[in-house]
Symmetry: C2
Subunit: 327 residues, 2 copies
Amino acid sequence: MVRLRLDLGYDGTDFSGWARQPGRRTVQGEIEQALGRILRLAEPPALTVAGRTDAGVHARGQVAHVDLPVAALAELDRNRRTTRPAQPGAGVGGAAGDRPGGGLDGAPEGVPAEGLPPDVDERLATLVRRLGGVLEPDVRVHRVCVAPDGFDARFSALFRRYAYRVSDAPGGGDPLRRREVVWHNRPLEPDAMNAAAARLLGEHDFAAFCKKRDGATTIRELQRLRWVRDDGGPLVATVVADAFCHSMVRALVGALLAVGDGRRPVEWPAQVLGRAVRDSGVHVAPAHGLCLEEVGYPPEAELAARAAATRRVRTASAGGDAPFEDE
Amino acid sequence: MVRLRLDLGYDGTDFSGWARQPGRRTVQGEIEQALGRILRLAEPPALTVAGRTDAGVHARGQVAHVDLPVAALAELDRNRRTTRPAQPGAGVGGAAGDRPGGGLDGAPEGVPAEGLPPDVDERLATLVRRLGGVLEPDVRVHRVCVAPDGFDARFSALFRRYAYRVSDAPGGGDPLRRREVVWHNRPLEPDAMNAAAARLLGEHDFAAFCKKRDGATTIRELQRLRWVRDDGGPLVATVVADAFCHSMVRALVGALLAVGDGRRPVEWPAQVLGRAVRDSGVHVAPAHGLCLEEVGYPPEAELAARAAATRRVRTASAGGDAPFEDE
């Protein structure tokens, strides 16, 4: 078996979220079907993802892994497309490495897993192109590579970085961004939102901002939450944590929007956090403003240890089944 | 009568271009209808636009003007919405002035046209909000102001700036940008494209890159045409000229893409330009990569002179009806 890492993005508008569900169009379902079809597998393979996203939530820097029989890669030699001729200094492999999603630290250069064909990189570039031909344009796999030893898309992750985008322009925001920027019908004051956000940073029980799941911990380390007005236009929040519980970013954003437009005082979100129970005054912000921008992993040598530690912590704190990080 | 300047943007995907056409959904038609409805005019008023865009072409910095009876503004006092309360330091007028599209040089601060009500700015802010409620979300009017003396959205313009966006990522570009970024199925070399573009700058007869119209000059001054790879992702061309003739940017881009992916030599676009006749080897690039980003105007004191000069030059060179700049 070989473990592949997939770097991907999607417009969540027309998906019922990431997770496969019978009868629904989901990102996981579409990619698994495409992989099964391209590699002529008897069953679609199962993907493991870094951040399961809700219906309507987007991703630019989503990461998943899939385990496949090495022999399945041979299928990529059949009908190999040659529409992207290798050019001096701009070959397929080299060009892909210069692009976003192409910066996997500790990529297994020169240390292929046992049994891998020597031209595995070329075959995986073919896989990327074939996925581009099979998938609808609202989901794109930007890169596929052999995962380094110990890599687990979910448990090896050090952090998830989300962006939340909101425009308070009086007549409405940029029409070309309307699928990923929420429009807010009152002027927003980013300084107040940042003052309120600063009081939420650090390790806390975020139960007040999470949809509770049985047996799942709501303790998270919020590493960054900061609003910046993007080039005079929409406000963009950068939100980073080790992991998130369900609807956490959107609930945090909903609380901060109430501060930003003057409906709540700066102290309010921290007071809600301190009560550690769901607060009906917190409105979960709309899904379409949220985008998973990046998943961070440690250097290759620490991947396996990180995965083991994450599994241990989650299992212990949950007292049972490990919780999933969701947005 | 009062002349209003409108700053606006649209997602061109679902429009049959800017120009009003019977039975078609056009940007001009939608805004004219909305203005007529909000101001309760007997007929929709006629808009004059800086850059007429083709079907599928987008705009972020489009500018138009409209002449209205001063009395029509009184309609805005009826049912005036108060959903955006004035806040200390963040009033409607002040906030709008900090935003894109709000930077009209020489705005008529403190010098209202004769007969204008003293609260005209407040009424026009109401108009922006009401347009936001009436128009579909794929077209937004970001600002409406009283046009300075001598202002003509079309003839006073000094330059039009367009962007053309294309991604050559092997598996496809960012799904969230697919409506405004064209995907090109071969790697592109921006240095070669810029070398070719540099030979096209200056005042030339661009007949080779224009759809010919009877009586219309094809002499234009191409002030800037430069490709930059945006943050490691798509390539973005900035294209600036005094004005453009029909399909000119897309034909120039089509020629440069052929250089960028190695199908044509760097010298080729300049050779085509030199022949001054349409070249069947030039493929007009897809409309959805093109966006009108900015229209530049001179300082207020020079607006009328600029408009008169533009009219004179266009009429003389065309030997009749003044040509329209189109993309």
